[in-house]
Symmetry: D3
Subunit: 240 residues, 6 copies
């Protein structure tokens, strides 16, 4: 099966990193295709970025011309757009935020999320709440790092471990990597913490494979009906 | 004071209607300026439209070059974007969804929302929940009408009254017009129902005036800090 | 328009202070009339005081013989009675507790309340919950000051700032003055904290003006129907 | 032990009926003393009545001069005041609303309340929520009867059974008599419905006996500290 | 009346201690019979123990051959099984977890639970939530003591007091002994803390007496219908 | 990898049916081993059965002597025990109730569950709530069929479709088969309803494969620590 993994920002290197994370999780029969929006923010940090990203990701999928695919994984942690993509495509759609939470719920009574900037915490809380998995979230905490600063591994790891402690003090028994750019970090921090750490990218790939494997896709009844045909203009082409 | 009222779609006639509604509610010292996004959907019905609209409204405000303004009213009922606009501008931002709910809470123990298509109900419920005013909402019900079909007044009114009955059966004591395009309808249906009916456009104008009058604007602490400076591209200019 | 602002206690000086706060917020066409209950507690601190106050305020409005008014503002933070007043009068009724919270929700993702004695915190939490605006309240914290001790401005301000810190640590991005007697303090503490601070008295005046401006008043359907005519005695030996 | 049972209204016949209900439930060593407020509404139906009643009941207890008592039962279903009485007296205080709900929770997974006028339903819901026992309440439904109309037994019973059906359809497995004036009805309707039916008056008497028997009384830490000494006037012109 | 008090584990000494606690609380006409399961864990600490205990307690009651009884008290704090026992027997069933919480709700606005091992806290939270009394629980905290280590009174008391402080900091105004083996401790720690402390064993005995006294028993409508007759085997090789 | 699928009852035919369902969902490298408890109820319908089943399933896994396995799937819809199994084994544990709900959340905004007897609905609601996925559950409805009556396919399908209609009326956009014995039915009813229908057995197999594939297993921090070594007896007269 083929899974299209959408980056939520325009940074190609990050798409590649996400694709690496997705491939590491994918089963033998799964092909992963990365998709970088042609426009949007270079990183998504806050609501303005997130809404811009949502529209850009929708546009990227709407105009996608590659090989047919069986599922979409949306790789922006806490970012908007998943319901819109569910309306747009006929295949299952899994967002890494909800995916990580779904698996985390299976691994402990309460989970915590460790993300980048403090300003993103509220957005992630909202995303988990609406996905229906907020109840068992003990805390969403920030590391103070920017998305594009995650590269320095030792620094990222140290910041993650410090923030993880706060999440555990709030009751978390399982942790979630709260940014797509953290993918790959789960093993190192998991070992140091002695806790399961869930990477949303890997989680979403497995959930997408699961849905495809079971022949399930988004319901068209009620909320996620196909978009009504109408006139829509997708942006104005001016860099800002 | 000047209030910019943003339509969530590209239909100029609807902006004009909204501006009429806003002006009818505005105090003597208030100037209302309508803003129609240069791109986006011609009407917002569902999540895909809503995310596209959110980005387009943000872009419209980001590139706005008119006279200085004191507040923004976002006139898309149940549409996304308000947190992003709060990050973007330095003046108070009021979304008509939350505005209507805030006032409705003051008028009865439970309120209900009557909107257009059934598919929009969930989106409105989510919007109310995150705005912090979902608790006293008894029901969100649809009339089955499209946004751009609201023109025929008799038909709209009849559909509204039928849907209102369902909301009242669920416990609503106050009703909310669940679409910016319904603005103006409140008096006619309110009289027929013998109930207060809140129009979000008017409600938002009054709340915006209130905040400006009290010298209050969005907190920069935590969630709604200014957007981080970075490279962002706002769309690609291709009609779809 | 005329707004009657009811003090929740019998201390005339406090009514005057509240009226000053209300007038500072009121629009040009608004006349503010203060109303001090003829009986009740000299300050409301705790449930016993609050219930006594509620009955006294109802009695004051029931027997009011001044000029006609267009709205009632109830200026007791966290005090009981608002639903009863909604039954009693035909004009809109706004309680300063809910009013402050409604505006605070528009200014940040989470708000906090700073009040007088710790014993009042629970009562305020209950009041916010029932008003339907409890969800986004991060914390209600006490300063340890009595209502009638608020006069000493430097001391009040210092106590407020210390308590505000605790509210912010709990996630508050906006603060609310949790006592009518604090009215006027919002600017000084807001500047020191770098946060929007909402005064309930001002907030309620603006919301009352908004409702009157929009021609809206309390629903008579369901909860807030007119009191059933019957024999009621308002205090010892005085038939009413 | 002696339990003072406070009627929430001034109707002496109703006090007597409540006392009969309380005595029927009381254990062999328990003496029940009825207390009718010297002022207040002749029946409590709605918030205005309820707040007036709360103050009057507080005043009745404050000025009570009978023999010492070991507990207070507040016999107004859904009426305000219990927290104030907890501040005032040093003995345990049990309100019939919460009492019925506490016992009902032990008898089935969900319970329902059948009360008098529809307008009281919301008030009862609020009372249950704040008492901490709202979660397992499936429904609060009205019979349409006035409090003082409950006398006609056949009519009351028929109205109760019809309303009970609605509560059961909403999931109630146990029912609660939602008015002190219904006391005594539990057996007849319970047999007809084949369900346990809890009378709040009896429930409160048993809970009061339980607390006294265990040597427990209201906590003075936090919310229900003793009222602060100050000037309070209880009704027009009567200093207290 | 006769109350059967079931220990949740196989430790006879603990049954005796529980019976002592129950008798201390019981009214003059009440006979308390202790029941120790013939199998199960020697102490219940965690979910595995709790489920094993639930089945063993059900088996003990199913095969009970002593004198007829009027109520069952289940004396395992936070342990599973109460709904099953409600299906099995025709008399009222009261679990000490819910019992303590029900009475605690009457004594303060928020209560806290102090239990043995930290690992039990989540299980207790779940039990309170499903019993419908979780709302007003401020905290469940552990002392770090094993169930069978509770004997050393000074040590238990010291551990209790230290943990109680954390519960109070979280808002508890009343405390609950979070283990049947703590029964008897309530007076000593209550005096030291200056707070009401509820023992679940005593609370459950009083609630059981209350229900029996009022002629109430579990509803057979809906959830707790009698078990369907079928083949069941209770443990290895023993058909039942 | 090898997944052990535990039936919650002693009916061997049902284990076989479940194993068929599990194998149909399993990936190419997955071996499914069915496990029938040596004791317990022949079908689990209600709490008594469920607690008996939980202990029996724990015993079956505790004494399991087959080949090593990588995950456990617990195939009793709404049945107890999952937290105990998480304590017991070192591999991931997935219960079909939560599994179905986790996948259903990805397929629509609200899901519904269609189960066997009405008496099981409450138990399933509780199970979903504690698993952290109750928020987006619109309804749990019964078909009136016994577990062991599910064989007759036409009758089961008709009953399912009728009940599904009620779930959809309550807002469900996705359905869940609410009994392990319904496995296999998903395709037929899904096509008739035009909705995605999730089978818990298949869902749990995919989630178990996902967790194993990602190298994740239950957290030992906090709730699900290993059982404390102690004396436990598993059923009458059999020390373990």
């Amino acid at each position: 099966m083929r899974i299209v993994v959408t980056n939520c920002n325009t940074t190609q290197e990050m798409t590649e990193e996400i694709v690496r994370g997705a491939r590491a999780a994918a089963g033998p029969g799964t092909t992963v295709t990365g998709l970088t929006p042609a426009w949007g923010p270079e990183s998504a940090e806050g609501w303005l970025d997130s809404y811009l990203s949502a529209a850009a990701v929708l546009d990227a999928l709407r105009t996608y011309e590659g090989p047919a695919y069986d599922a979409v994984v949306m790789a922006g942690f806490g970012e908007h757009g998943r319901e819109g993509v569910r309306e747009l495509v006929d295949v299952p759609v899994v967002d890494i935020t909800e995916a990580a939470a779904h698996l985390a719920c299976l691994l402990g009574r309460r989970y915590g999320v460790v993300t980048t900037l403090e300003r993103s915490c509220g957005q992630i809380e909202d995303s988990l709440e609406l996905a229906g998995v907020g109840r068992n979230c003990a805390a969403v905490v920030g590391t103070g790092l920017n998305v594009l600063d995650l590269g320095g591994e030792a620094r990222t790891e140290a910041a993650f471990l410090a923030a993880a402690e706060r999440a555990c003090a709030a009751g978390a028994e399982v942790l979630v990597l709260g940014c797509a750019g953290m993918t790959g970090l789960q093993q190192a921090v998991g070992e140091k913490l002695g806790l399961p750490v869930v990477d949303g990218v890997g989680a979403a790939v497995k959930l997408a494979e699961s849905l495809v494997g079971l022949g399930l896709t988004t319901s068209r009844a009620g909320s996620f009906a196909k978009p009504v045909p109408k006139r829509r203009v997708w942006g104005r082409g001016t860099p800002g």
